[in-house]
């Protein structure tokens, strides 16, 4: 498939604003930031979760713990895809009876989140699990939705969405690639 040049749909500042808005929405819904644990899904969910926590600490007088989750061993497509580089799984606090907010860059089929839900329930029993994503591009294959969305980005299945974040990629923004027909 021949790809056209990627079109940028969010620049670095747009991503920063979206993350700050998500941080505000989280605090609004939970009347503050008590009993919250942000859990970033490898790879790019982790720096986004850290950014959300940093934003919350600016306007709420509290530090929200940030965990990391690699869902590689929980995927349902291990027979079809290569084992990619695995990240570490590390929760700084016991998540039992806490509100866990899973954080990922792009919500697409929902299968990564399904794997993350299984992984989290092996690590503890949170009171609630919610989902925050930078991009929701649609095309769900499972009954999963996000509670906090940076940007809804209608796409076709042939398109490819790329998120880059400062801490991983040295640049920040969201790009969309359309196949040439």
């Amino acid at each position: 498939m021949i790809q056209t040049t990627p079109v940028q749909v969010m620049d670095g500042a747009d991503v920063r604003r979206a993350i700050r808005r998500i941080a505000h929405e989280i605090c609004e819904r939970h009347h503050g930031a008590e009993h919250l644990v942000l859990v970033g899904i490898h790879t790019r969910g982790v720096p986004i979760a850290e950014e959300i926590a940093r934003a919350i600490s600016e306007f709420e007088d509290t530090h929200v713990p940030v965990g990391e989750l690699d869902v590689g061993f929980y995927r349902d497509d291990l027979d079809h895809r290569p084992t990619t580089r695995l990240g570490r799984t590390l929760l700084p606090v016991d998540v039992t009876e806490e509100t866990v907010i899973l954080v990922d860059d792009v919500l697409y089929t929902g299968r990564t989140i399904r794997a993350a839900l299984d992984a989290i329930s092996d690590l503890g029993r949170p009171a609630t699990v919610e989902l925050a994503v930078l991009i929701d591009r649609g095309h769900r294959q499972l009954p999963i939705r996000a509670d906090f969305v940076g940007k809804n980005l209608p796409t076709s299945i042939e398109e490819r969405v790329t998120v880059r974040v400062e801490n991983v990629d040295k640049e920040q923004g969201v790009w969309i690639e359309r196949p040439r027909s």
């Binding site: 061993f73 929980y74 290569p82 695995l86 570490r88």
Partner: protein
């Protein structure tokens, strides 16, 4: 990679990839629920035609921690005792629906023969005096977790090298990962053609103790023929046994390893085996994570890279 039959199947990058994967599984094994669904639906069979305690339990624990199903074959209670051949036995096991066989056998090359007969993956869990690759991987992992890397480490393997599949596999693994290896044994227990190995040799353990990072003791394998070539066991113990006196000559950071089962009081003194600088129990627990890595790598993530 479909089978793991010998350490020579693995180059440095492949070994390091397996050790990295094993580190992830070690984290899984530390959890309250030490189990992941990565191999749900896969069936692993263990076929041990030779006795084993830790290797067999370790593979079984690894398969279960990956949520695989397990079939367990024991020769003494099987139709082998009615004269069924090795080939018919493994083809029967395969026909049950097996994705991977873990094979230990007294005959060199038996797991490779099995691999040529069956369609599923085969892991060599020890064949005669030839190879025991998962032991070498777990030993490399144990050393890497202690020292960070193997590059530049000085490792002595002491004892019955000639009859030891552990020694053969470990020489491959340690030297591939950049360590320098010295074999310490009486000449009768060194392998034939030892000149072609990338190692140094000596019969004088005391002369090198102060320079070592790792001293790896091998079991005196009376059942595999160490006996006839040893004129006297007490003399062997006095020259090659790791007792308290020799232990105290090691550097402060140096560690002691042994693949088990130990002959306490022969190749290793009981108090040395139980010293905090003995990694023998670490070897056992790292064995489970290592075997999880091997099973996972052979069966999963086979899509296009």
């Amino acid at each position: 990679m479909k089978h793991l039959l010998s350490m020579s199947d693995l180059d440095r990058a492949a070994i390091e990839e397996l050790l990295d994967l094993a580190d992830h599984f070690a984290e899984v094994l530390d959890r309250d629920i030490p189990k992941v669904p990565a191999m749900r639906g896969a069936t692993v069979a263990t076929l041990f035609f030779e006795t084993s305690t830790r290797t067999r339990l370790s593979f079984e624990k690894a398969a279960k921690a990956l949520s695989a199903d397990l079939l367990n074959f024991t020769p003494s209670t099987s139709s082998l005792s009615k004269g069924e051949s090795l080939k018919d036995t493994v083809l029967t096991v395969q026909a049950m629906g097996v994705d991977l066989m873990v094979v230990r056998h007294g005959a060199v090359g038996a797991p490779a023969r099995v691999a040529s007969w069956v369609d599923c993956s085969v892991v060599n869990a020890g064949d005669g005096a030839h190879q025991h690759p998962t032991q070498a991987l777990l030993d490399a992992l144990t050393i890497r977790r202690r020292f960070g890397k193997l590059d530049g480490l000085r490792i002595a393997i002491v004892g019955d090298i000639r009859n030891s599949r552990v020694a053969r596999s470990n020489i491959d693994a340690f030297t591939t990962l950049g360590a320098s290896v010295t074999l310490v044994a009486p000449p009768t227990l060194l392998p034939f053609h030892v000149d072609s190995y990338p190692v140094a040799t000596t019969a004088d353990l005391d002369s090198i103790l102060g320079d070592l990072d790792v001293v790896y003791m091998l079991r005196v394998q009376l059942e595999r023929g160490s006996g006839p070539v040893l004129p006297s066991l007490p003399e062997y113990v006095s020259r090659f046994g790791l007792d308290r006196r020799r232990f105290l000559q090691l550097g402060k950071e140096a560690v002691v390893m042994h693949p088990g089962p130990m002959n306490r009081g022969i190749e290793i003194a009981p108090d040395v085996a139980d010293d905090p600088r003995s990694l023998i129990t670490d070897q056992v627990s790292n064995g489970v994570a290592t075997r999880m890595a091997v099973l996972f790598r052979l069966l999963k993530g086979k899509g296009q890279l």
